[in-house]
């Protein structure tokens, strides 16, 4: 069972809990193949999706997961909410809580925002991405996809290439993969390289050839233009020339390598279209698996809800 009643980050999970989530997701995946893609498990529960940052994939994925578990869902579009009138985060959430939701799924541009709410709220909080900090369900669905193809995580060489500095996907993934015994390599330009990578047991390199060499998994990260307020890269063309994943660069990888991307992709910036749409790409599988993994997380957390009542 999960010890905490919130899912704030991979940092809080033990290897056994990660495995429990992945095993549960495996059972959840079959529901998508049924004629009626719905089970009554969370009937009568209310889940609020509170997204303070734009998101298509994660928000719809959570919504589909909630609906397949029969929860009542409501999605707050922040652009049309009182937040634009100057309400603080805590006040917004306190007002939503007055309507007694059971689970709040939230994304926020500030690192640590869900942690703050978890301390103040009675609801279960699920972090759907906080600033540059964590995106735990993305790392879980990535691990699920890897495990489906490789049957294990232990001992795999996983190369993560791209904008490492701004990436919460990287921070969640290096922790999860590290806990599960994978050999993680991180590759990007020196300006986009966080200083604390060695702390997580990650091999950092600026050579994409070295990172991809004999890799079982290559995970590409998006160049996050919206977070780049300084001059981190000279141009997207130069970035692609040095760090873009092309069919030629992929040759050094293992024969059964899989290519992943959390989306949204910038074709021709971090990844060549021939690779993104090629035979090694599992990018769309990641999206379908996301629903099963989020169903597993909601199901496992729902057992904790009544705590503190």
């Amino acid at each position: 069972m999960l010890r905490a009643r919130h899912l704030l980050g991979i940092a809080d999970l033990e290897p056994g809990e990660i495995e429990e989530i992945l095993d549960t997701a495996e059972a959840m995946k079959e529901i998508a193949a049924r004629p009626i893609k719905k089970v009554p498990t969370l009937r009568g529960r209310t889940v609020v999706n509170l997204f303070f940052e734009p998101s298509t994939r994660t928000r719809t994925s959570f919504e589909v997961a909630e609906k397949r578990l029969s929860a009542d869902t409501l999605s707050v579009a922040v652009a049309m909410s009182s937040v634009t009138k100057g309400e603080t985060l805590v006040d917004t959430v306190r007002n939503l809580e007055a309507m007694a939701p059971d689970i709040i799924v939230m994304r926020h541009s500030s690192s640590g925002a869900p942690h703050l709410l978890a301390r103040l709220c009675r609801s279960t909080i699920v972090n759907a991405g906080d600033g540059m900090h964590e995106h735990p369900t993305q790392a879980l669905l990535d691990a699920f996809t890897i495990r489906e193809h490789k049957k294990r995580l232990q001992g795999l060489k996983v190369a993560i290439v791209g904008d490492l500095l701004h990436s919460r996907v990287l921070r969640s993934n290096v922790q999860l993969l590290g806990k599960m015994g994978a050999d993680v390599w991180a590759c990007g330009p020196p300006t986009l390289m966080p200083r604390d990578l060695p702390r997580f047991g990650v091999t950092a390199t600026t050579s994409i050839v070295a990172a991809v060499e004999r890799a079982d998994v290559v995970m590409m990260l998006r160049i996050q233009h919206e977070r780049m307020h300084g001059h981190y890269i000279p141009s997207t063309r130069e970035y692609f020339a040095l760090f873009g994943l092309t069919p030629e660069r992929l040759r050094g990888a293992k024969e059964d390598v899989i290519i992943m991307h959390p989306g949204p992709m910038n074709r021709g910036v971090e990844i060549d279209s021939d690779v993104a749409d090629g035979p090694y790409s599992v990018i769309l599988e990641q999206v379908s698996n996301g629903v099963a993994v989020r169903m597993a997380v909601l199901y496992l957390l729902a057992g904790h809800e009544a705590e503190g009542d």
Partner: protein
């Protein structure tokens, strides 16, 4: 802890049930077996093998996990969620005669959940219920069509079906539950 069924008796009960299935359904046409996880699944496979042995037909066999349909799932105030296992029904259940298999029939709530789950997979022509042990104390209007053995019990007792595939031994024992 008295043993109420050993491996021999279990095997004979399953063979008898296989014969009853053939008699009642006049053959295996349109039949399919669905075992309820966990111990209904090996029992369903054994009945499929018995049917094959009798008349050479292969009856499709699936596995059903009813966890997500349980009526007590979100009722415990705090606690670990039951382990979810995979449902595998690799055939269409539309217009089939489904044979639902479980180890022990008690309150009937598991079967209620299983019926709800099956309806989400399609519209079978009929669903019949096979249980190895019927121990009484129904809380819902549910009755088995094929029973390995009726065992009168008190609610304070617990009935354990052990199968080689899961527990390493074939037997049924009745235990007096610890005083609550």
């Amino acid at each position: 802890m008295p043993q109420v069924m050993d491996a021999d008796r279990m095997s004979r009960a399953l063979t008898r049930i296989a014969h009853e299935i053939l008699e009642r359904n006049r053959g295996t046409g349109e039949l399919a077996l669905v075992g309820i996880r966990r111990r209904g699944v090996p029992l369903a496979r054994r009945i499929a093998a018995a049917l094959h042995h009798i008349n050479g037909d292969d009856v499709p066999t699936g596995a059903l996990d009813i966890t997500l349909y349980r009526d007590d799932l979100m009722r415990q105030p705090v606690g670990p969620q039951p382990v979810l296992r995979r449902t595998e029904i690799p055939f269409s259940i539309d217009d089939r005669r489904l044979l639902l298999v479980d180890d022990v029939l008690y309150t009937g709530r598991t079967i209620r959940a299983a019926l709800d789950a099956l309806i989400d997979f399609g519209r079978p022509r009929a669903i019949q219920l096979i249980v190895l042990i019927d121990r009484g104390h129904r809380e819902l209007p549910i009755k088995a069509d094929y029973v390995g053995k009726n065992i009168p019990t008190s609610p304070a007792e617990s009935v354990q079906v052990r199968l080689i595939e899961i527990d390493g031994v074939d037997e049924v024992v009745v235990d007096h539950a610890e005083a609550v």
